[in-house]
C-alpha cells in the first residue's frame, strides 16, 4: 500500500480494489449501536483546510473519529496563515505536535505533493482536494458507490461499465480523479462539457470527450453531474445559465432515456435547477445521499490502510492474514 494518497493515479488496480473492499466491510460500522472501532487509538489526524469545505472536512472527521483517532481541525481562516505563515511553517508546527496523518485541502494545485515530498511532516499526507487538480477520496467513494450498484460483489472492478461525467470538467478535481481511477478500474469514461469547460490536454486523459449530452445517455451505466462552480465563472464559459441548463442539465426527460439500471450521481453541493433538476436529485435512481454515507466508509478505509499498520513498512507479509 502506498504511504500517501495524493492522486487517484497513484493507485494501481490492486490498491484501489483493496480500499473498496475494506470500505465495504467498514460500511457496516455505521449501522451498529456503537459506531466506533479502536483501531487508530492514540493516533493524531489533522484536518488542514486552507479552503472551506464543510462536507469533506466532517466526512474525514467522522471517519477518523470512528476509528478512535484524535482529530485536530485546522482552518486557515483566523489562524496564523491569515497572518502570513507559510505552508512549511504550518506543517512543521503540526509535525512538532505529532501528527500521524495530515488531510490537506488547499486552493493551490500541488500543495499536498509539496507537503509530502518536502518531508515537512512524517505523517501520511492525504489530498482532500487541491485547486483544480485532484480529489482522490471523492473518486474512491464514487467508484465504491458505482460498484455497489452496478457490480455488487467485493473483489471486483468496474470493467466495461460506461460512466458519463457531465459539466465543468475544467475546474473539477472530481472529474480528473474520477477519470484516472475509473480507467484503472476498467470503466469507460465519457466527459461531456461545453468546449470552453474542457481543459487543455484532455486528449491525453484516458477518456472520450463529447459536447453532446443527449448522445451519451443511452448506454450510460452511471451519470455523474458536476457542480457549476459559480465562484469560478468569472469568464464567459457559456452564454447563460439558462442555456447551460438546457444543454447540459439533467432533467426528467433525460433521466428517462437512461437504461433502467443506470444511477445518477453528484459530488455535491448541488445547484438545483442548474446542472440537475430537483426532481432528478430526489429521484429513486439518484444515489447522491448514499454517496455521502459511502464517503465516510471509504475515508475510514483509507485512514486504516495508511495508518493502521506499522509505519514505513511495505506490504511484506500477506501470510499474516489468517
Amino acid at each position: 500500500m502506498i504511504k500517501n494518497l495524493l492522486s487517484a493515479g497513484d493507485l494501481d488496480r490492486t490498491d484501489a480494489i483493496r480500499i473498496l473492499d475494506t470500505a465495504e466491510e467498514l460500511l457496516g460500522v455505521a449501522s451498529r449501536p456503537i459506531k466506533k472501532l479502536p483501531t487508530l487509538r492514540g493516533r493524531t489526524v489533522v484536518n488542514l483546510f486552507f479552503e472551506d469545505s464543510t462536507r469533506t472536512r466532517i466526512s474525514f472527521e467522522a471517519a477518523a473519529k470512528r476509528l478512535s483517532a484524535d482529530v485536530i481541525n485546522f482552518s486557515a481562516k483566523g489562524s496564523s496563515v491569515s497572518k502570513g505563515e507559510s505552508l512549511k511553517d504550518t506543517a512543521l508546527t503540526l509535525q512538532a505536535m505529532g501528527a500521524d496523518a495530515v488531510i490537506i485541502r488547499h486552493h493551490s494545485s500541488g500543495a499536498p505533493h509539496r507537503l509530502a515530498q518536502a518531508r515537512w511532516t512524517k505523517g501520511a499526507v492525504i489530498n482532500a482536494g487541491d485547486g483544480t487538480h485532484e480529489h482522490p477520496t471523492q473518486a474512491l467513494l464514487d467508484a465504491f458507490t458505482m460498484r455497489r450498484h452496478l457490480v455488487g460483489s467485493t473483489g471486483s472492478d468496474l470493467a466495461g461499465k460506461k460512466i458519463t461525467i457531465v459539466g465543468d470538467v475544467l475546474h473539477s478535481r472530481v472529474a480528473r480523479s474520477n477519470a484516472l481511477l475509473l480507467h484503472t478500474l476498467g470503466a469507460h469514461v465519457t466527459l461531456v462539457a461545453p468546449p470552453t469547460l474542457l481543459p487543455v490536454g484532455v486528449d491525453h486523459w484516458p477518456v472520450e470527450t463529447s459536447y453532446d449530452l443527449d448522445a451519451s445517455l443511452e448506454d450510460a451505466d452511471a451519470v455523474m453531474m458536476l457542480r457549476v462552480q459559480a465562484e469560478r465563472m468569472n469568464a464567459s464559459y457559456f452564454p447563460s445559465a439558462r442555456e447551460y441548463s438546457r444543454r447540459y442539465g439533467l432533467d426528467t426527460a433525460r433521466l428517462n432515456r437512461l437504461p433502467d439500471h443506470a444511477i445518477v450521481m453528484h459530488p455535491g453541493p448541488m445547484n438545483r435547477g442548474m446542472e440537475i433538476t430537483a426532481d432528478v436529485a430526489d429521484h429513486v435512481r439518484s444515489v447522491i445521499v448514499e454517496q455521502v454515507t459511502n464517503g465516510v466508509a471509504v475515508r475510514m478505509a483509507v485512514l486504516y490502510l495508511l495508518l493502521g499498520g506499522a509505519a514505513g513498512e511495505t506490504e511484506a507479509s500477506e501470510e499474516g492474514l489468517s
Binding site: E25, L37, G308, A310, E319, S322
Partner: protein, 202 residues
C-alpha cells in the same frame, strides 16, 4: 491471535509442503471432535434458540458452519453460523503492515443471547481478547462461550476454552497447522518442528 499464531496458520495455505510434520488429527478425528463439541454446546445450553454461533475468520468460520450444520440436524431446524472479524481489534496492528479485513456477518441480534465463539487454534488468547472487545460493541450477550478445535497452550492472557476438540501440548518452537477442506483441500491437524517449517517464520 498473536503474530506467531498467524504465521503458523498461514503457513498452511501458502506453503503447501507435501509432508510437513506429524499429523495428529485426520479427517475422521476432526469430524468426531466437532460432533462432540456440538453435543457439548447443546447439552450445556439446552435451548439452541438462544445461541448465536460466531466463527473467527478464516478457519474458525468453516468450523462454525460445520458445527451449525450438525446442530441443525440434532435440533431439526436450520441454525446458521456467523463470522466475526477481529482485525480492527488486534493488539499487534502497529507491528505489521495494515492487513485486509475479513467479512463480519452476524446472523442474529446478540443482545441477551449466548454467543459461542469458534476458532481453530487457541494459543496466546489474544485473538479471543480481541473478539470479546468486538462483541461488546455489537451488543450485550448474556454469556460468551468459546469452542476451539485445538488448544495448544502457552496462554498470555487469562482465557480458557469451554469446548475443546483436542488439547495438544506443544513447545513454542513447534507449529500447529490446521487444514480444512473449505480452504486447504484436506482436513488435518499437524505439528511441525522448527527444522521442517522452511522458514515460515513466527
Amino acid at each position: 491471535m498473536s503474530a506467531s499464531d498467524d504465521a503458523e496458520r498461514a503457513g498452511t495455505a501458502h506453503h503447501q509442503a507435501p509432508d510437513d510434520g506429524r499429523t495428529v488429527l485426520d479427517q475422521h478425528d476432526i469430524s468426531r471432535a466437532l460432533t462432540r463439541i456440538t453435543h457439548e454446546i447443546l447439552e450445556r445450553n439446552r435451548d439452541s434458540a438462544g445461541l448465536v454461533l460466531l466463527g473467527i475468520p478464516t478457519r474458525g468460520v468453516h468450523l462454525a458452519r460445520r458445527i451449525a450444520q450438525r446442530m441443525s440436524e440434532v435440533e431439526q431446524r436450520t441454525i446458521t453460523a456467523g463470522a466475526l472479524d477481529i482485525t480492527m481489534y488486534r493488539d499487534d496492528l502497529r507491528l505489521k503492515p495494515a492487513r485486509a479485513l475479513e467479512h463480519t456477518e452476524i446472523p442474529d441480534d446478540i443482545d441477551g443471547k449466548v454467543v459461542v465463539l469458534i476458532d481453530d487454534v487457541l494459543f496466546s488468547g489474544r485473538t479471543i481478547r480481541a473478539a470479546l472487545d468486538a462483541l461488546t460493541e455489537l451488543g450485550r450477550p448474556k454469556a460468551v462461550q468459546l469452542a476451539v478445535l485445538i488448544d495448544r497452550g502457552h496462554r498470555e492472557l487469562p482465557i480458557r476454552a469451554d469446548f475443546v476438540g483436542k488439547n495438544l501440548p506443544t513447545s513454542l518452537v513447534e507449529k500447529v497447522k490446521v487444514r480444512l477442506t473449505e480452504s486447504d483441500e484436506i482436513d488435518s491437524v499437524s505439528i511441525t518442528g522448527p527444522a521442517s517449517t522452511g522458514g515460515a517464520g513466527a
